[in-house]
């Protein structure tokens, strides 16, 4: 009897979902294996961590209240009153940081492997947009506990947005939902974080993964090895090993370094000294601090912001700019540009935390 239920259930679903066709397609999927194929794992890890964020985020939604009179208290409650609330929240906060770090690694690894070259230009573009989206996730999520650090970090961050020429003031008001950080901001950031950004991310991730499915994995230019392993189940098992490792890391972090709550935000208190945004913004933040007040006749800060935007645009369009890679030729200029960018980001981030009185 039991032996019959299995196959008949399978046939029931197969007739309606075309499972056999899907499985046949899946069986054909292969992944190249060569010296550099280790880097292929990073995309999957990012997806895995995103899934963790969605799951823990959905659970936090159960107890969190996005109102300035209750936000901080609800997070406090999650940390101390809800069973395993400390775990769900700490996982969410730690994974957010790990995810953004790994996204940077994923981006740079695909850059150096020139995976962006034809025909994978759109994969790169959706990928970079996803990085920006996830940094927006980080920025909006950071405010939600409504503690002192996040309140002031949001103020500083939106002030920078407000200093953009022409659109600055309007942009700042739209982001804040008003003239300053307040209830409107909290509601708005909450909406960004649980509705707008997830929808956008889902669409972009969908496109990104679809492209990976249709185009397969890119091989480095000039890679001669033709060895391929099946995605199901070989590569997936290897993926899973990486995921297991990262789960252990997250567990250790959450138990020994649970995420702090911090004191509740008080707009009347003066800005604490040394206020910084989250680490993944610090390279830009420190750049703005180091730039001289005036360069030629232009305001240094505005010039720097403009430089960031131009740089970002160029980075986004790299697949179209790197003609040599499109022709499967080595393009050392772009490689070195990438190295320079990576070094710049690392050095400035480290400087933010090591150089006193910045």
């Amino acid at each position: 009897m039991a032996a019959k239920i299995g196959p008949s259930l399978w046939k029931f679903l197969d007739d309606r979902f075309m499972l056999s066709a899907l499985i046949a397609f899946g069986k054909k999927k292969t992944v190249p294996e060569h010296r550099r194929s280790f880097w292929y794992f990073f995309g999957g890890i990012c997806l895995f961590l995103t899934a963790i964020q969605i799951a823990t985020g959905a659970m936090l939604l159960l107890y969190y209240t996005p109102h300035i009179d209750a936000a901080h208290e609800s997070v406090q409650f999650i940390m101390s009153g809800v069973k395993f609330g400390w775990l769900i929240r700490s996982v969410h906060s730690w994974t957010a940081n790990l995810l953004i770090g790994l996204l940077f690694i994923h981006m740079f690894s695909t850059f150096f492997l020139k995976a962006y070259r034809r025909p994978r230009e759109l994969t790169w573009i959706t990928g970079f947009l996803l990085l920006v989206l996830f940094m927006a996730f980080g920025f909006s999520g950071y405010l939600l506990p409504w503690n002192e650090l996040s309140y002031f970090a949001t103020r500083v961050g939106t002030d920078i947005a407000g200093s953009l020429p022409i659109i600055g003031h309007w942009l700042k008001t739209v982001i804040l939902g008003g003239p300053e950080v307040g209830q409107a901001t909290l509601s708005r950031f909450f909406w960004f974080h649980v509705a707008l950004l997830p929808l956008a991310a889902l669409v972009l991730i969908g496109i990104h993964i679809l492209l990976v499915q249709t185009l397969g994995m890119s091989k480095p230019i000039g890679e001669r090895s033709t060895k391929e392993i099946p995605f199901f189940p070989d590569f997936l098992y290897k993926d899973a090993l990486g995921w297991t490792l990262i789960l252990v890391i997250i567990g250790v972090l959450c138990v020994f370094l649970p995420w702090e709550i911090g004191p509740k935000a008080d707009p009347l208190v003066s800005t604490p000294l040394g206020i910084k945004p989250e680490w993944y913004f610090t390279f830009m933040f420190t750049t703005l601090k180091l730039v001289p007040a005036h360069v030629l006749s232009f305001e240094g800060e505005k010039l720097a912001i403009l430089a960031f935007m131009t740089g970002g645009l160029l980075w986004l369009l790299v697949p179209f700019l790197d003609r040599r890679a499109a022709l499967e030729k080595r393009s050392p200029v772009f490689t070195w540009a990438g190295v320079a960018l990576a070094l710049y980001i690392v050095i400035l981030t480290v400087m933010t935390y090591t150089v006193p009185k910045l």
């Binding site: 054909k28 999927k29 292969t30 190249p32 406090q76 940390m79 101390s80 400390w86 775990l87 397969g216 033709t226 060895k227 391929e228 392993i229 099946p230 189940p233 070989d234 098992y237 290897k238 899973a240 090993l241 297991t244 490792l245 789960l247 252990v248 567990g251 250790v252 138990v255 020994f256 370094l257 649970p258 709550i261």
Partner: protein
């Protein structure tokens, strides 16, 4: 009122503003061109509270500021700068005149001059000692600010320095045979800490205990009244205690005997008791009731405080291990208030009352300790949970590794082919 008067009045009213605008002040003009000591008044006047009230040089010194020629400016009404012994009277000309002061600030006191004459400074001055402090020594002269302004010489946290200019200077105080350690002592006190570190402007400075213009060292009998201004509950307890009569009979200054006067340190339980450093044994010998009471108080307070520290330690430990304990810390704050209350009660020397306060406090501590233990248990639970989960994940990882190795071998041996796509 005839038409001519109206016209005159209207003209005056219309032109009066112009007059103010064009008001010439030759005093300032001339003195600005001079150097150092003679330039200072002109420079300082701009920030002076008197200038802000619309007064100028001539209102105190007389003279005619419309005259450029110095001899004409220093006319018959010119009073010049007063001699030191005349300064109190000079300032008092307005400041002791209630009707005059009413025009500027009806809320200001006008008894400063009469108070001054009762002060040690005033008495010395009257006897002919011009080195005694006069108004300008504490308030400044051109550039006087109200005591509410933080840069003023009479703003609370500047007062110790203002008094200390003379009272902490050995050379100045030598002829009077007065000590000069008060400022140093005060700076080490709990009151100074409150004032300078916590910016608590309600903390007492020199004038709060010694009086302002009627400054005089408080007599032995009045020291306690001075302290009672801010510490009335302690004062009441002391008054009800047997110490009051004993100290009064001895002619001792109540609070001052145990706590000092300028160098009042933060009181601690170590002051009570029977060991060498304690205050009680300075009078009470072994075997006396006082000795026994002191020992009992010390024992109870020590027990209470060590219980508090243990509870605090538990919470700190739990917090370090990552457990949320702010709910419990709130209760601990409450217990801290109970400690302060218990310590205060010792002034009443009532064993029953102190014992009750300590018992109440220890009851509250039990709750805190229980919560602290619970928090530590939670920390242990988390670590165990992590160990179990990590072990399972490790097991799963090993299973995966085995499977991968198995598959790689199978594929390599079985097929011998490369790609599929």
């Amino acid at each position: 009122m005839n038409i001519r008067a109206i016209r005159l009045f209207a003209a005056a009213a219309l032109f009066a503003p112009l007059l103010a605008f064009g008001q010439k002040n030759s005093c300032i003009e001339c003195h600005n061109k001079l150097d150092d000591e003679l330039k200072a008044p002109a420079v300082g006047l701009a920030a002076d509270i008197h200038a802000q009230a619309g007064l100028s040089c001539k209102d105190c010194h007389g003279g005619d500021p419309s005259q450029d020629d110095v001899d004409k400016a220093k006319d018959k009404s010119f009073k010049g700068s007063p001699k030191r012994k005349d300064i109190p009277q000079f300032c008092g000309g307005c400041h002791a005149d209630a009707a005059a002061m009413r025009a500027f600030n009806p809320g200001l006191r006008t008894d400063q001059l009469s108070q001054y004459w009762t002060s040690r400074h005033g008495q010395l001055l009257k006897a002919g000692d011009t080195k005694a402090a006069v108004c300008t020594d504490c308030h400044g002269v051109h550039g006087i600010q109200t005591a509410k302004f933080p840069k003023s010489l009479t703003f609370p946290w500047n007062i110790p320095q203002t008094c200390g200019r003379c009272h902490a200077d050995k050379a100045t105080m030598e002829p009077y045979k007065l000590p000069t350690s008060q400022l140093e002592d005060y700076k080490a006190s709990v009151h100074a800490r409150a004032l300078y570190d916590k910016k608590d402007l309600s903390a007492p400075v020199c004038n709060d205990c010694h009086g302002n213009h009627g400054a005089f060292p408080p007599s032995v009998s009045s020291v306690a009244s001075v302290c009672r201004q801010c510490h009335p509950s302690t004062g009441d307890l002391f008054t009800k205690s047997p110490h009051k009569k004993a100290f009064d009979d001895m002619g001792a200054g109540e609070c001052e005997v145990c706590h000092g006067n300028h160098k009042i340190l933060p009181p601690s339980t170590a002051m009570i008791g029977t060991d060498q450093g304690a205050t009680c044994v300075q009078c009470h010998d072994k075997g006396s009731t006082g000795f026994e009471t002191a020992a009992e108080f010390r024992r109870e307070l020590d027990g209470f405080e060590s219980g508090f520290r243990t509870a605090e330690g538990l919470l700190t430990q739990a917090k370090r291990k990552g457990v949320e304990v702010s709910d419990v810390e709130f209760r601990l704050q409450d217990v801290n208030t109970l400690i302060v209350t218990a310590r205060n009660l010792t002034h009443g020397l009532d064993r029953a009352e102190v014992a009750k306060a300590v018992t109440d406090g220890e009851k509250a501590l039990v709750e805190v300790r229980a919560a602290g233990e619970k928090a530590l248990d939670e920390a242990k639970f988390r670590r165990r949970g992590l160990a179990v989960t990590t072990a399972l994940l490790a097991l799963f990882g090993v299973a995966l590794a085995l499977k991968i190795r198995h598959m790689t071998r199978a594929r390599g041996a079985g097929e011998g082919r490369g790609s599929h796509s």
